[in-house]
């Protein structure tokens, strides 16, 4: 996962890319077989340890999801991100607002 959080005028813009196949379960491969569903289902963003965003995601999100959020914050604020996919694998990242 790659994240970037930039503050401008008291508003932080948070950009997140999660490399993930995010298969919807409806796509067929070259041989015509359905590729099993495998996608990111849950996400959370904590700001200085407090909940900020809590997400539930479905199979309609693209491959390698690119998400952008906005919130009130300042430089140096701590962000903790956690995403969980349909195989219960966790993707965790932390960063400071710049």
């Amino acid at each position: 996962m790659r994240i970037l959080a930039k503050e401008d005028g008291g508003i932080v813009s948070l950009k997140v890319i999660i490399p993930h196949p995010n298969e919807s379960g409806t796509r067929k491969d070259e041989s015509g077989k359905v590729v099993p569903a495998y996608f990111i289902r849950e996400g959370s963003v904590l700001l200085n340890g407090q909940p900020l965003f809590e997400l539930q995601l479905g199979p309609s999100v693209s491959k390698d999801p690119f998400l952008q959020f906005r919130f009130a914050g300042k430089k140096g604020d701590r962000l903790n991100l956690r995403f969980i996919d349909s195989r219960k694998l966790e993707y965790v990242a932390e960063a400071a607002v710049v």
Binding site: K15, S24, L52, Q56, G58, V61, F69, E94
Partner: protein, 145 residues
């Protein structure tokens, strides 16, 4: 910032990434992400299919999507909502995401969405138990779902 620019930005802080099985019980609402009609999805997720249309919600999306496997969609609102939703009417699973907003979180979310075919997109903002909605139409040039 364009996605490509973002990917290529070398100064971006490398994030700590861990991969491990989750020990927490899943809170994912399976019943919200079923293969149903848009009306049924509204009822399942929001408990209603009648909303106020609001000019205070903006959905930014390309009118014609050249790549339907990753259509950039942005919802923003001046309503001080506590929950955001995005639905794609013609997708097999209409609900794309639901997002709870806490503290200083602003009602803004941008993400890349798969689209099965040309469709209406519905953005919904919940404010104190009331739902507000806006929609846009996106044409899909080539199917890639």
């Amino acid at each position: 910032m364009k996605r490509r620019t973002f990917l290529e930005r070398s100064s971006m802080a490398a994030a700590l990434v861990l991969l491990r099985p989750s020990t927490l019980a899943a809170a994912w609402s399976e019943n919200h992400f079923q293969q149903v009609s848009i009306e049924k999805a509204f009822l399942d997720v929001l408990g209603t299919k009648d909303f106020n249309r609001s000019s205070r919600i903006t959905i930014a999306a390309p009118p014609v999507a050249s790549d339907s496997s990753a259509v950039p969609v942005e919802i923003s609102s001046t309503i001080k909502g506590d929950q955001l939703y995005l639905f794609v009417e013609k997708n097999i699973t209409p609900l794309v995401f639901s997002c709870a907003l806490h503290g200083g979180a602003l009602p803004f979310l941008s993400l890349t969405v798969k689209m099965k075919e040309s469709s209406l997109l519905y953005g919904v903002v919940r404010e104190g138990g009331k739902y507000h909605m806006a929609s846009v139409h996106v044409d899909v040039a080539v199917q890639a779902c």
